[in-house]
């Protein structure tokens, strides 16, 4: 019996321009595993991720219906403390966006906003985040340099480390390796394999190959609908739906 960190029930979402980007999605996200959401562009994967930490509050959303239970509590409830939620559910974006601060400043940003002032705690968190994101050895000597000086791959791992420094419970990653070289990509993927022991991970991969490599659970999205859901690699080896098979085998993109 797997334990579900997040339970999504009949989630529908439409933007103010009228596009319905998610249509009655029901999906479980198990704890301590990598759940992969994949499918062609425009399928609603990013929209779903942004629902999980209420980042969609910033977008032009017209209606959201359904429930998203995080540890049994509905986070779509208007009374939700979204600030606390976003600390529990961290997010890494496709393009690495380092804040215009030092490396250390990026890492401690979230904690400082939360009111943490103790230097030792901040340093501790920064180090932990960097180590988990496999970046510590590369930057430990120059934590006070501007973060922008890092390479693209390092920046993306810094973004991951920045989320990890907050000790979230869930990590959302939206095509985190889409702009990275193969070496950086495998570093990130390796880090994720380590991380899933402690965290719940939701990953939107940038390719079917990456989906197949990383998935403990996989969900195939097409035009706002959840087409098929499967455990382990079964979606990639024995898809049940024709459209899943067509996509996995590269017959459409």
């Amino acid at each position: 019996m797997v334990e579900n960190k997040i339970v999504i029930e009949d989630l529908s979402l439409s933007y103010t321009d009228g596009t319905e980007s998610l249509h009655e999605i029901s999906l479980n996200i198990p704890v301590n595993a990598i759940s992969v959401l994949f499918g062609p562009a425009g399928g609603g994967k990013s929209s779903l991720l942004r629902c999980l930490n209420r980042l969609n509050d910033l977008a032009d959303v017209r209606t959201v219906a359904g429930r998203i239970l995080l540890d049994g509590v509905d986070i779509l409830d208007p009374a939700t403390d979204v600030i606390a939620l976003r600390r529990r559910v961290g997010m890494v974006f496709a393009r690495p966006v380092v804040l215009p601060l030092s490396i250390r400043g990026n890492l401690t940003y979230g904690l400082e906003l939360a009111g943490e002032k103790r230097r030792s705690r901040l340093d501790e968190a920064a180090e932990r985040g960097l180590k988990l994101a496999a970046l510590w050895d590369e930057v430990k000597e120059r934590l006070d340099d501007p973060a922008i000086a890092l390479s693209g791959g390092q920046q993306q791992r810094l973004c991951l480390a920045r989320v990890l420094a907050q000790q979230p419970e869930v990590i959302l990653l939206d095509e985190p390796t889409s702009g990275l070289d193969p070496i950086s990509t495998s570093k990130v993927e390796g880090a994720l394999q380590e991380l899933k022991r402690e965290y719940t991970i939701v990953l939107v991969p940038h390719s079917v190959q990456q989906a197949a490599r990383t998935a403990d659970y996989a969900a195939f999205f097409l035009q706002g609908g959840l087409i098929e859901y499967g455990v382990d690699k079964e979606l990639f080896t024995h898809p049940k739906k024709q459209r899943t098979e067509d996509y996995v085998e590269g017959r459409f993109g």
């Binding site: 930490n53 980042l55 910033l58 600030i83 606390a84 976003r86 600390r87 961290g90 997010m91 974006f93 393009r95 966006v97 804040l99 215009p100 940003y109 979230g110 906003l113 939360a114 501007p146 922008i148 973004c159 920045r162 989320v163 907050q166």
Partner: protein
């Protein structure tokens, strides 16, 4: 066929020369006048001229009280208009959504920017000097100038804020930042050089204006420096007006000297703004 080509070529040459001449006629007087003022004014400028009180009905001595007065007025204007203008810009760039209220605000800003300076003077007289009974004072003049400066500061600051990449805001919010924390820690620091540039350009205008302070705070002549914000003050632009129209037998040199000091004051601010802008552009991380 050949002839028309020749014609076309000739017309183009004539046209280009004409336009170039027009541009030349625009720019040459500017340069000429600047050089002329510098040549005429420079001999007047001395330590005494800058730091002494005027004597002999302002026909001798220095312009110290006018310099100090313009400084006070500029600082006074900044005190009111900078916080208000930046806050208004933050509202427009970070909080306002596109609705009728926001459009009304924008129309109001455009309107403020176009109101003649002498009308600001009337308004300051009506509201600050008479109604609120601040009298003809630095306070009343500064408040009047601040409202005049406000649209410049708001527009420039809003532009600076909007040029900060949206992604920074998204990331900060996703890390658990509130809207204000995001503004305070990321957006404002990044927009700061642009904001400072806008502020200086606004204050530069205020420093050079005469009409708004004519009936709100400017004094023809004061034997001593103003002692409080409720005192009237001399000011460089008004002083130049006075000595070039109201005082008979005024030595040219003092007039040109005063004009030169005023220009240096105003254009110096402009130069600072330009330097800040280009420095910040060079250093920018995005």
């Amino acid at each position: 066929m050949k002839k028309t080509f020749l014609n076309r070529d000739l017309i183009q040459r004539l046209g280009f020369s004409m336009i170039s001449l027009v541009a030349l006629f625009t720019v040459v007087p500017i340069v000429g006048v600047m050089i002329y003022i510098i040549l005429q004014g420079a001999p007047a400028i001395s330590w005494e001229f800058l730091t002494a009180m005027p004597r002999d009905g302002m026909r001798a001595g220095g312009i110290w009280p006018a310099i100090v007065g313009t400084f006070y007025l500029t600082v006074g204007t900044a005190v009111f208009s900078v916080p208000l203008g930046i806050a208004a810009a933050i509202y427009l760039s970070e909080y306002a959504s596109e609705n009728w209220l926001t459009r009304t605000i924008r129309i109001a800003i455009i309107s403020l920017a176009g109101i003649p300076s002498v009308v600001y003077g009337l308004f300051g007289l009506g509201l600050f000097v008479l109604f609120l009974q601040f009298g003809t004072s630095i306070l009343a003049a500064s408040l009047t100038l601040s409202i005049m400066t406000l649209p410049v500061i708001i527009s420039a600051s809003e532009e600076a804020l909007r040029s900060v990449p949206q992604a920074f805001r998204t990331v900060s919010i996703s890390l658990g930042g509130t809207r204000w924390q995001t503004i305070r820690r990321i957006v404002l620091p990044q927009a700061l050089p642009g904001i400072i540039t806008g502020v200086i350009l606004g204050l530069e205008r205020a420093a050079g204006e005469t009409a708004p302070i004519l009936f709100t705070g400017a004094a023809f002549f004061l034997p001593r420096l103003p002692g409080s914000p409720l005192d009237a003050t001399m000011a460089l632009p008004y002083h130049l007006f006075v000595i070039s129209t109201q005082v008979p037998e005024m030595p040219f040199q003092i007039q040109y000297g005063t004009a030169l000091v005023l220009i240096i004051f105003v254009l110096g601010m402009n130069l600072v703004a330009t330097v800040i802008r280009s420095r910040a552009r060079a250093k920018r991380q995005w």
